[in-house]
Symmetry: C2
Subunit: 430 residues, 2 copies
Amino acid sequence: MRKYYYNKLTAGELINLTKRPAVDFTKAFETVRPILNDVKKDGLKAALNYAKIFDLFDEEEIRVSEKEFIDAENNIDKKSKSAIDLAAKNIEKFHRKQYPKSYSVEIQDGINCSREFRAIENVGLYIPGGNAVLPSTMLMLGIPARIAKCRRVVVCSPAKNGKINYPLLYAAKICGATEFYKIGGAQAIALMAFGSSGIPKVTKIFGPGNQYVTAAKLLASIDQDGAAIDMPAGPSELVVIADKDADPIFAAADLLSQAEHGADSQVVLLSDSEEIVNRINSELVLQLNELPRKEFAEKSLQNFFSLITETLDQAIEFSNRYAPEHLILNFKNADKYRSKIQNGGSVFIGGYSPESAGDYATGTNHSLPTSGFAATFGGVTVEAFMKSMTFQKLSKQGLKKIAPAVETLAEAEGLLAHKKAVSMRFKKFK
Amino acid sequence: MRKYYYNKLTAGELINLTKRPAVDFTKAFETVRPILNDVKKDGLKAALNYAKIFDLFDEEEIRVSEKEFIDAENNIDKKSKSAIDLAAKNIEKFHRKQYPKSYSVEIQDGINCSREFRAIENVGLYIPGGNAVLPSTMLMLGIPARIAKCRRVVVCSPAKNGKINYPLLYAAKICGATEFYKIGGAQAIALMAFGSSGIPKVTKIFGPGNQYVTAAKLLASIDQDGAAIDMPAGPSELVVIADKDADPIFAAADLLSQAEHGADSQVVLLSDSEEIVNRINSELVLQLNELPRKEFAEKSLQNFFSLITETLDQAIEFSNRYAPEHLILNFKNADKYRSKIQNGGSVFIGGYSPESAGDYATGTNHSLPTSGFAATFGGVTVEAFMKSMTFQKLSKQGLKKIAPAVETLAEAEGLLAHKKAVSMRFKKFK
């Protein structure tokens, strides 16, 4: 396992350590482009055709029926149901506070400007499937959409043997999803972005996915007839900053919980204590052997590295440059370092705040920016399901007061009709 | 000038009226792709090469000097200076209220979750140039960036004869822009997105531009090494809803102020009174002849249409489907219809609220979503220059309480290391 010393690295070497393995989307774009084009042209028919080829979907009905939702609610095991209920309650509690408030300003006498928010009416949520069962992602996207009061909440997720698992259907139901289609992959993204007869298009698509799903979302986002997207998604990441008093068992368990996601998951350990780094590294090897997903975690650990810094501030500086999706601050008085964290999707403070708590049940969102995008994007929020609008109301006197400024700037910009739209309003009264 | 009657149109015909003329980016993508690739590879050198070819730029120094800023401040004419100062003051006053507040929630005993915002550190602002002088756009982007406290605010705008005009430089100075480069077009977008030696890349690019600038922004937004963008930009638009008491002179002047932007500008008139529609149409012809930019306005009016509805509610319903960039409600008691407006970038209420007031000086932002994107995006805000982060801190007892839910969901999703990251923390104390 690689180990670096901050003070022995050049500035260039440090920057290289913040880089993620490049994901070349060129091939994925080429693969999904014809899928998007076909679905844009032939709608559901084309989407079903691809679902048949890629997912062996050969049902007649793609839409989940009311009966299937009721079955799920009646037959889901009690333990899963109460876990989903608790997670939903906490997610609701955390996200409700994000509902944006309107404001109004009296800019000058007779000039009132205000801002209000409205829900995006048609949104699409993509929930990956295959062998995984992901009710948590459904909650993370569906609850903010419900709080925002989106009119149509369309969910797409691939079926297994024609069926969607109970936990996912139950989670979709409590989120108030209005439509659920048994379809995954790029064809699902295309179906939501372009719509079809009986399935109106959505204007924004949320949710994680493999590289084909991501490529399809990216292409849809630059298509005039497509849909906006939540953020570009990449492999999941975790940075742990630990000091000498951190429990190596906890830190290793946290690193492995990220590493098990997949071979391309990124995990990084930062510390001002070489001793704890060595102890965590040994612990990693021990715990790794007990994991059912050992194969994934082992591959992911090939990209793993530790960086030994002189101070915790140096570790935070590196983490800010790295801009991790998840960041665990497993050191004394970590709470006091909050304001120093500039870039990071979700931050976990102290020894009893493992990432998996936030992944599932504390209420924060787990749809987070990866690949360094945490420097630019936040995770999914209620506001992401809404858009702002500004309103302004001027009285005759209010307009008169700013008329000279408007006229001067319009003239400077060579837009005389802009000037006239103001001067006309006073001319005839002269 | 085309005139339709709402009740005589089929649903399909109504939907067609909400469609903008398609902008095919295929060609623009092909044109700008090599520019992006070259600048990504060779940085400033490649960017300057394109600036030479497209803009005949042959200066040695691309960066605006401190002296040029001081010259601009000393030599700008007084009228422009005070117009810019007033606009800046109002924009600051309106946008300051957008600075997002942190919040903190005690989710359960021992589980504290919070959200905070941080400025995006490196942002790029594109200000179109050529023959136009656009200090207003500089203010609309630069002031929110200043309020957000972005560390680096990089501005690009093409020079004319090697110079940037005084109003734009003065506006950039009062916004606190940290760097200003004399370069426009796709090469400017590429330079900001990928950076160069001595010019670190930015991670989000804002600002309007022609189809090549927009195409370059779109491609940069789906490049892993590129930059996020504010929104997809298209030709400017205005919908006016007028009732029988609206002043036809005002309404016509407003429509023309939008039409003069360019041949592809979209203007639409909605009314429940055919008489006022006829009067506004006659007034349009009269006023058109007095405009210096008559040629643009005339071409734009070829796409213009009026729609006569039975009621104002019907007009609003159509406008919501159209989702205009600008919307003027020039009818009695328009204020009461606020909550019915679902989709629209900036809304102007009453007879004395012309669009040009908001374009320049009331304080609202004029960087707004076009092409129907107002259904999904809002205009530029302070929040657009920031990103959110979540923090969570659990006590041992807090984690213990949600442990069963986390463990159940992790197990359901087949992620055993996620489960262990929680159970490990209690195991050794058992």
